[in-house]
């Protein structure tokens, strides 16, 4: 596997429409979530029961103080939306770091050493695949609690399988290549070979997997929060917002649609970015 010259790759990436669409949306969401609260000046946790369930600005009784209306506890929807964006992005990225580390490590070991180590890694991956993700996450959170740290750890420990599989096959292919043999000949230690020789050469597919798992993580956190066993109030999460608004389906569907569509758009953006990255970095995996 010859690594493409970095500059050429970056150029191809920059010309890819979906890269801009996907990456741009994510960047926009990130930006808004960070500076937005200062601009709109509303506190996402501030309850105002006198003004609960007001319409968004396009509704009959919309106001300009609460652009997207308020929820059932009088909290500003836009503020909560932006806060939820921060949570989604944070959990998503943190989880990918955790799952990426675990999966890549297992994949490197299995792919490089082969034999019984590989069998063991395969077995562990099979076990992980056999366990139902949502159910296990729910059980763990119910047993141990749902701080952000725990959420990140739990989701991270459940989404590493694709990293492991991709790393393993990529490492297998590289394990017998000349530069690895050369590194062994000059006495490089195994960790050095794995981290300094092999890993840099498989970053392409790994980045693609990272975007896939980022999307998964965001959706999983949303599902957990929707079921009440994810992010808990007063923190905001888009899944939680949908759950809280569920009872208002009949009269105020916007309360559900706003966070729900935001979720879908963010995940869509991540998928588009992933598509673009895959086209450029790992075209063999194209479907």
């Amino acid at each position: 596997m010859t690594p493409a010259p970095a500059r050429a790759t970056v150029h191809r990436l920059l010309r890819h429409g979906r890269f801009w669409l996907g990456g741009g949306t994510i960047a926009l969401v990130l930006l808004l979530s960070l500076i937005g609260p200062t601009i709109i000046g509303q506190d996402p946790t501030q309850q105002d029961l006198a003004h609960r369930l007001t319409d968004p600005f396009w509704g009959a009784h919309g106001t300009s103080t609460h652009i997207l209306g308020t929820d059932q506890l009088g909290r500003d929807t836009l503020a909560r939306l932006l806060a939820g964006a921060r949570v989604s992005l944070f959990i998503g990225v943190a989880t990918v770091i955790v799952s990426g580390t675990i999966g890549t490590l297992l994949g490197l070991l299995g792919g490089y050493f082969g034999g019984r180590v590989d069998l063991a890694v395969n077995f562990i991956v099979t076990i992980r695949l056999t366990l139902p993700v949502v159910l296990v996450a729910l059980v763990v959170v119910a047993m141990v609690g749902s701080s952000l740290t725990i959420l990140v750890l739990v989701i991270g420990l459940l989404l590493w399988d694709r990293f492991a599989v991709v790393t393993r096959s990529a490492t297998q292919r590289l394990a017998h290549s000349d530069f690895v043999i050369a590194a062994r000949c000059i006495g490089s230690s195994t960790p050095r070979i794995l981290l300094a020789e092999i890993l840099p050469n498989i970053t392409g597919p790994l980045i693609v997997v990272a975007t896939i798992e980022l999307a998964h993580a965001i959706l999983l956190e949303a599902a957990l929060s929707f079921l009440g066993l994810g992010v808990k109030p007063p923190l905001a999460s888009w899944g939680l917002m949908v759950a809280e608004a569920k009872s208002q389906l009949l009269f105020r569907p916007w309360q559900i649609a706003i966070p729900g569509v935001a979720l879908a758009l963010l995940v869509l953006a991540v998928n588009l970015l992933g598509d673009a990255l895959r086209d450029v970095l790992a075209p063999e995996g194209r479907v």
């Binding site: 056999t130 139902p132 119910a142 599902a223 929707f226 995940v267």
Partner: protein, 305 residues
């Protein structure tokens, strides 16, 4: 074929064994299951009573083996909350999930396969773009959003379909569609790419070179070859859908295993949670085995290994 089957069976058994250990461990993560079960505000005596009743005071390994022995003899313990044997509770809820899963898979296949074939036949055409859009939205939209959207449109606005409970078959329509969309994008993509590849293969060229009618070439020859990996993916997706049924059953108030699992988690009904974890994993393991078998069955080239 026999040896292949035996090896896969052994592997499956091992996987189920280890999974059962994981399931057991997860449920005891909180350290004191008795306290969790008793709930908040329970007195120390109550908690101690529960502990003795369920044997939580024994060493963990002993507890595990006792449970394993029970499972093997068909006993899953007693639900603390429902005061019934777990087997009974599972038996009441399982048919709903089984029906939901089957309908969902059926819907997914009915949508994904024809659309995938049409998209492959006219690449870049309208069907292809529709298929692309469907796959992309299906993958991005969270299932609870889709569920609520369907409820709003078909239940609240149009009053076409019921939106809660599982009294009639009609009650299963919206949930099946929601759950089916879990699996549709992957199945759609695989069908499409498989068809594109197969249509360029030599034996399709032969079929056309001998003047076979287009529908025969596409359906009898191309799809027959392309469908093989799709079928085994479908088996695996079925297993994944069972896991994802928790959200769907919660939104549509279907009294299935997913709903049972969620409720049991909320009330710390340990025995039930453990049983469902094990059951789901078992079903998934069997389904992957089935997927491999289907692969071998459908492809004559693989039967002789």
């Amino acid at each position: 074929m026999g040896r292949f089957l035996a090896r896969r069976l052994l592997l499956t058994l091992l996987v189920v064994l280890v999974t059962s250990i994981v399931a057991f461990s997860l449920v005891h993560l909180s350290g004191d299951p008795a306290a969790a079960m008793a709930g908040e505000g329970a007195s120390a005596t109550d908690v101690a009573a529960i502990r003795r009743l369920y044997g939580f005071d024994r060493p963990l390994t002993v507890q595990y083996f006792a449970w394993a022995a029970d499972v093997l003899s068909g006993e899953f313990g007693r639900s603390y909350y429902l005061r019934e044997s777990v087997v009974q509770v599972l038996a009441e809820h399982a048919p709903v999930t089984a029906l939901l899963g089957s309908l969902a898979l059926g819907f997914a296949l009915l949508l994904a396969i024809p659309l995938g074939v049409l998209a492959a036949l006219r690449r870049g055409g309208m069907m292809d773009r529709l298929a692309s859009a469907l796959a992309v939205t299906g993958q991005a939209a969270p299932s609870f959003l889709l569920a609520l959207l369907l409820i709003y449109v078909f239940g609240v606005r149009l009053h076409w379909l019921p939106i809660s409970g599982n009294a009639t078959t009609a009650h299963y329509v919206l949930p099946a569609i929601t759950l089916g969309m879990y699996a549709t994008p992957a199945l759609l993509r695989l069908t499409r790419s498989g068809m594109i590849e197969v249509m360029q293969s030599d034996h399709i060229r032969t079929a056309r070179a001998y003047g076979l009618a287009p529908w025969r070439v596409v359906l009898r020859h191309a799809l027959r070859s392309a469908i093989i990996p799709v079928v085994s993916l479908a088996a695996v997706q079925f297993g994944l859908m069972l896991g994802g049924s928790i959200v769907v059953e919660a939104v549509f108030s279907l009294k299935g295993l997913g709903q049972l699992a969620w409720e049991s988690i909320q009330r710390s009904d340990i025995e039930v949670i453990q049983a469902i974890l094990l059951l789901t994993s078992l079903v998934y393991a069997v389904l992957t085995l089935l997927a491999d078998l289907l692969n071998a069955l459908l492809d004559p080239r693989m039967r002789l290994t």
